[in-house]
């Protein structure tokens, strides 16, 4: 009985220390990839190749989901707003919720699922098949050659993806509100333009998507780099990428929103 208790306590302590060590390693990994990024900027074609894989290939899922998110927002918003006789405000509702929150957040979640998992699996397999060790043998720094270009590609792609998500979502909301429901075209756009602020809404949305880009990409890279070199290890690392990135995105979103709303008033 007493023996089991001791074992449980030891287990908890062991796991806690393990997590803290992993966190410290992740922080060191992040700083080291940043310090290696000079090389990847000098070899920019590497970054461009990765932007193709993480950004361009994620476009279809991002744009299609944005269209549907915008259309659903338009329908739901109209349904509620018409009770208060202000159905023209549906444009404001769609634009503000997309630009401030849904654009960056949903893009980051989709990005973690679409590009983050691919990055983790790729790097995890590179490590499992000892490609990273082989690079080191050839005096090529794997962090500078493999990790840093992917990091910068993710950070660069994210704001563009989020901006395209927002604008496609607004278009989806427009499609539902104006041709389908029959809200006045001019009122839809003018109310939107009167109430969406460039600095407070759009720039803050871009800042959010940049931060999410850093968080999602570094989590995906780290999980891949830290994955045990087995089939099971890589599969677990891929799962952890999605779980951790989603949690990080939602948590960071709350923190940033509270700062931004305070700054606004």
């Amino acid at each position: 009985m007493f023996d089991r208790l001791i074992k449980t306590v030891c287990g908890i302590g062991h796991r806690t220390i393990d997590r803290i060590i992993r966190l410290g390693f992740a922080a060191r990994f992040f700083l080291y990839s940043l310090s290696c990024s000079g090389e990847s900027i000098r070899r920019f074609p590497l970054v461009i190749r990765e932007i193709y894989f993480t950004g361009v290939l994620s476009l279809i899922i991002i744009l299609v989901s944005a269209l549907f998110v915008g259309m659903v927002l338009g329908l739901q918003g109209y349904n509620t707003l018409q009770r208060y006789g202000s159905s023209e405000a549906v444009g404001v509702l769609v634009a503000l919720s997309l630009v401030r929150e849904l654009g960056p957040v949903v893009t980051a979640l989709l990005f973690a699922g679409r590009a983050g998992t691919a990055i983790t699996a790729e790097i995890g397999l590179m490590k499992a098949t000892e490609q990273l060790s082989a690079m080191e043998m050839m005096a090529v720094n794997p962090i500078a050659r493999v990790v840093a270009p992917r990091f910068w590609a993710g950070v660069i792609s994210m704001p563009f993806l989020a901006a395209m998500f927002s604008i496609t979502g607004v278009f989806g909301g427009f499609l539902v509100a104006v041709p389908l429901i029959g809200i006045d075209d001019g009122a839809f756009w003018s109310q939107m333009q009167a109430n969406v602020d460039f600095h407070e809404d759009i720039v803050n949305g871009v800042i959010k998507s940049l931060v999410f880009g850093v968080a999602c990409t570094i989590i995906a890279l780290f999980e891949g780099y830290d994955a045990p070199p087995t089939a099971e290890g890589v599969s677990r690392a891929t799962t952890r990428t999605v779980v951790n990135s989603s949690l990080a995105v939602l948590g960071l979103d709350f923190v940033m929103t509270s700062f931004m709303l305070h700054g606004g008033n």
């Binding site: 630009v99 901006a163 602020d197 008033n265």
Partner: protein, 160 residues
């Protein structure tokens, strides 16, 4: 270094992203209307500013002519000092009336300028003397109730 189809796609991606940002700024946001070229500063004291916020529009005859730049509380006068930037294209005479109005029933608040008859125009740093603060709904309702109640009393006295 060779050019490849990947470069083309990444180029299209980046251009699309920048275009989306521009479209957000121009079509969704109000960047076009906030960019007022050169401005001059005018300030005014208000008894009550209600829900007026910095960057709220200053309108005359419904047209945006400037923006509120700063709101402060004057400790001596116990009134709100509102500073606004007005586009140099527009000239207002010195007895212009500034009032805080609401767009729609529950919309945002803005400053409305109504021209007076003075021949001298407002200059940079001038103060608008004629002002009317925001209408506070609670005060309006209590005034209404008070007048209703006194009407009722009058009627009672008449029947006596």
């Amino acid at each position: 270094m060779e050019r490849s189809t990947i470069d083309l796609w990444v180029g299209i991606f980046v251009v699309g992203g920048i275009a989306a940002l521009m479209a957000l700024a121009m079509k969704v946001g109000n960047l076009t209307s906030t960019n007022i070229g050169s401005t001059y500063t005018v300030s005014a004291y208000f008894e009550n500013i209600g829900g007026l916020k910095p960057r709220a529009p200053v309108k005359s005859a419904g047209v945006v002519v400037g923006r509120v730049s700063d709101i402060a509380f004057d400790d001596e006068k116990k009134e709100a000092l509102v500073t606004m930037n007005v586009d140099t294209k527009y000239h207002f005479d010195r007895d212009t009336n500034a009032s805080i109005l609401t767009s729609g029933l529950l919309g945002e608040q803005y400053i409305g300028l109504e021209a007076g008859g003075d021949t001298e125009m407002l200059k940079n740093g001038d103060k608008i003397k004629l002002t009317q603060g925001a209408v506070v709904l609670e005060k309006l309702i209590s005034q209404f109730l008070y007048s209703k109640a006194s009407e009722g009393n009058d009627k009672k006295e008449d029947t006596k």
